[in-house]
Symmetry: C2
Subunit: 708 residues, 2 copies
Amino acid sequence: MKQLPCYFGRRFGRTAIVAGLACALVGGSLFVSSDLTHADEGMWLFNQPPRKLLQERYGFEVTDAWLTHLQKASIRFNSGGSGSFVSAEGLVMTNHHVGADALQKLSTAEKDLLKDGFHAADRAAELKCVDLELNVLVSIEDVTGKINGAVKGEMSPAEAQQARRGAINSLEKESLDATGLRSDVVTLYQGGLYHLYRYKKYTDVRLVFAPEQSVAFFGGDPDNFEYPRFDLDVSFFRAYEDDKPAKPEHYLRWSEAGAADGELTFVSGHPGRTSRLNTTNHLKFHRDVAFPYTLDMLRRREVLLRTYGERSLENARRAKDELFGYQNSRKARLGGLGGLQDPTIMWGKQVAERKLREAVAADAELKAKYGDAWEKVDASIGAYRKIFVRHGLLERGTALDSHLFTIARTLVRQTEESAKPNAERLREYGEAGRESLEQELFSTAPIYADMETVKLADSLGSLMEQLGGDDELVIQILAGKSPAERAAELVARSKLASVEVRKRLAEGGKAEIDASEDPMIDLAKLVDRPARALRKQFEEEVEEPLRQAYGKISQARFAAAGTDIYPDATFTLRLAFGPVRGYEEAGKKLPPWTTIGGAFEHSIAHERKDPFELPERWWKAREKVKADTPFNFVSTADIIGGNSGSPVVNKNGEVVGLIFDGNLASLVLDFVYTDERARATSVDSRAIIESLRSVYDTGDLVRELTGK
Amino acid sequence: MKQLPCYFGRRFGRTAIVAGLACALVGGSLFVSSDLTHADEGMWLFNQPPRKLLQERYGFEVTDAWLTHLQKASIRFNSGGSGSFVSAEGLVMTNHHVGADALQKLSTAEKDLLKDGFHAADRAAELKCVDLELNVLVSIEDVTGKINGAVKGEMSPAEAQQARRGAINSLEKESLDATGLRSDVVTLYQGGLYHLYRYKKYTDVRLVFAPEQSVAFFGGDPDNFEYPRFDLDVSFFRAYEDDKPAKPEHYLRWSEAGAADGELTFVSGHPGRTSRLNTTNHLKFHRDVAFPYTLDMLRRREVLLRTYGERSLENARRAKDELFGYQNSRKARLGGLGGLQDPTIMWGKQVAERKLREAVAADAELKAKYGDAWEKVDASIGAYRKIFVRHGLLERGTALDSHLFTIARTLVRQTEESAKPNAERLREYGEAGRESLEQELFSTAPIYADMETVKLADSLGSLMEQLGGDDELVIQILAGKSPAERAAELVARSKLASVEVRKRLAEGGKAEIDASEDPMIDLAKLVDRPARALRKQFEEEVEEPLRQAYGKISQARFAAAGTDIYPDATFTLRLAFGPVRGYEEAGKKLPPWTTIGGAFEHSIAHERKDPFELPERWWKAREKVKADTPFNFVSTADIIGGNSGSPVVNKNGEVVGLIFDGNLASLVLDFVYTDERARATSVDSRAIIESLRSVYDTGDLVRELTGK
């Protein structure tokens, strides 16, 4: 799909905003009902794996050792996506499009790594990324009791929300202090369980190899989320510790044989978000409000960056990765909306919901405990509708689409939050996350004033359009100027492009922030009060009541259908599985894999025009490269955005592929699993080796991966 | 800008829909106030020319003969745009982008006239256009008395609206019967005057010459509405009568000398729509509602057609002209919105409005007659807000973006309207317009099923998004299917792509329509009742009250500031004027014209990448063509969308240029004239001759134009 996550939170810049848009959707929770369950369904917790299912269906026994090995070889990218260790020397494999954020930040007008690719001649030539952080899940601890113990039954939603946040912030801080590991409390089943995830963190990450984007993303937007497919969507990084290659405890071995048609495979990665247990009214809110709104914004940004990029080749280079993000999200969301607009899918949801509600209504105890949950969801959605646009614009920040503004806001908020006891802070400013936050805040990634101005002008324009030109806050933000003039002035006068200035402001605390005359800091101060008010309203009137209501619905489901189910995706590590398998579309049988030779034919069929033009290097190697090498394959594994870069392994835990996409039919997996036509798409391990060997002549990498 | 009009009405397909979107804006009327008037301002009526102004400012005497000659050599294109006769043999000059609709309809997968250009070796090789109609304004008659006589003071808005429509339909029919000329009643000053325009009509129009689109639209979307500019945006057609070249009574002679820096020039063309007298609240409605909505729809269609086009080269060819239309409108509307969002412009409007209202309030008689007009405008806008989205989707047809649906609706409505007395029909189905309507209804322009399906699916999706999936009409329209499935079924099963089928249905009348099982006809029937209801509501609660209110405001203005003012644009023939003059931007002096040599340099600066790649033919001719030939020039003339293709003439009425664009600063001319930086952009007559001679080797055309 580019299986990028619907991820936001402690992030600046592109991903945060892309995600902010892509995720202007509430809630989600556990999967619906057993009568909708399909065989290869599920994004399973590593501490609650589908042992029975895999045994019964595939005769495969999941051992603890097998699980631990796979878990600890798996990696999460803070730029959004998944990866894995693939050598004893800390070599990390992910998708090219997951690594693209790092590639973009390392590129300049003179050296375009996205376009031209990269291969480090030796360790010394590996390029250090500016703000990439990798996380490896080390342990999971159930802290449900501790969190729930802090929340008392008589509390109002607002009090409950604060008590829970306090408990979470404190637990994370205690864990960090005790273990030195990044510690995140993860809410599962929408509040049914709370698990504390501890991660080993790598912040010195260096680029080893990336192919040209024209083969990594061959077929471009037209082929994105389509199949057959021919993409070498891979890149390699290396994790360092103490300036030496990391020696990971676990790494995945390579399968040169790849996977056979019908062979069972596993995916270990970080699906971002699913909404499979949403009530039908909640889904209708997605269908009629959230998705259409998000799509309008995505199209707007796509057109903006495309037109900016078309003005010059250098502009195109600057905008490339961000533009891709919007196009990718647009196509993904459009597919998701297509599912919501499909009456057969909605009908299935309605039937399942009615059954569950009838089961609850028929049992006096269940009815008393959970009977009001659906109306509570409706009420929360109603409350959200009222603030949806304003909350998105001001608190999620879509009205202020500027790197510099995001920095300013973080500085302003960090100063304010740091003065509070840890337990009372906004979640993303808790002590436990401080290092990761600063990794991004002080990033040396380039900020282009012209692109900043274009983006800020357009987003200020959208603010004025959506709140109206006579809105008091809009008038204050624009300060008597047009959006274009105001944006130009803000960007030209702000000094926040300088990392030194940021550091001085961060270190100077309140006094320094108060004294600052930086116009972006002023703007962040101006916007902060109303934005915080909206956040508070959202948390108290939408998020917390939804969590409570979905908690009840989940309990009702456990009571009615058992507990052997997986929680909705949360951008944390999950295990999915399914065989390699082709499918039928419009009466045509599609094979389980494509070949490298097919890539050349596909290019020729499009007269070798962009985005169907392979790199010159590939045409030169055409005679040498084995044409029948499997290139991309499809399997039935249950994945979603965020799984990009996930390793695909066989029963022996060896790499047979690399998830990078899903087909169009898979875009409904946000809401419902189906294995009829929905497929996960991977780069075949054989194509990776064959191209490294025959096209890129990178014997060192091949040896490191295969030992040969 | 491509100065395409904001034009809709009796049209099918592209232009109607583009215009339907671009024009989802109410009202407009006469220009505001003398204290805002600038020297070269005005889109003047040919029967009310600015004689005094031109005499005083430029010492130029406008004679009746000069005016008549220019008027009768001027042409309106029904595909949207302007043109002129430029030879005694019926040769017609317009922009390439105005001719593009005809070029697209004549193109096939094998023969792409847009891409490759065209030159007829001789008369026999000239290609007949499939549905192009040209209009030449022959006479203007003031019928204000007759129209107003039909409307009695005691009538309700609904009665007034019907009475006025009846009078208009009848007058047009009488005039057609009496003269055989196309006869249109034009509402000027929003109802202050009614003029009957009689046009000589040419429906046999043949393509003579078009350059490659890559030089006609050199610089593409990035350079559109920008200056400096280097476009050979010209094409030539020939009008035929009785299968022989037409012998127009008037045609424009050619100036090989072109216009000097500072020389006064005139523009005779068809500006589409301006809104310069809108009240500030009305402008705020544009700013906060109509423009943002329209822009979202334009971006949506742009992304849709671009992604459709990117799938194959043939798709790209099919979508090209329509995609251009959306991009052009997007950039134009974005510029217009920028003006509305500029507080200095809005402030100027507010000051002028306050002055006028104070003058009215200070005079008891004026106050009694006109004092309530502003509140009436507010009330009408309030009524419009309530139906704005639904009216646009269902009556303007943006929810059913399909050529086949437009045909079906026309057939259904024509049948129903034809059964009524002429005076009671919807305006576009009056007898006077029948021929032009059928020229389009029975057009043999290609309809591509795949593109139809993609467009209809997306627009049905947008319908569901905007009205909500639970809306009863939406449910009926979708008939239990998803938008994508429903669109596929409708397009696959409809037979309306066949002109024979259309003719049979049109000729068969009600019986045939009632009996039809064509699913598009069924859909048109389903949508027609609610759509008509919305139209009625719009006409009675918005259009008519607005007309009455703006009529009062206009009268108040006449009383306060005199009557020597021009009406807002109405896509009818107007005279504008202004000298050739460069300007300053961001501290940089921009010259009054560019040169042909500059085009090559501009291409090289962009590494000759699309859209900055000139045709191969140009590179081959580079040594031969005179590099210092003026290519495009700018002048201060007051033009707007619809002026595309207008001839620019000198005091002798000789062609010195061809309007094709305005700069970014000109995009606010919808609302306010300024000559500080706003400029009209033209192809220089010298560049046309030089390229015809040295690049295209078309001696025949050069001789026909220059006599040499």
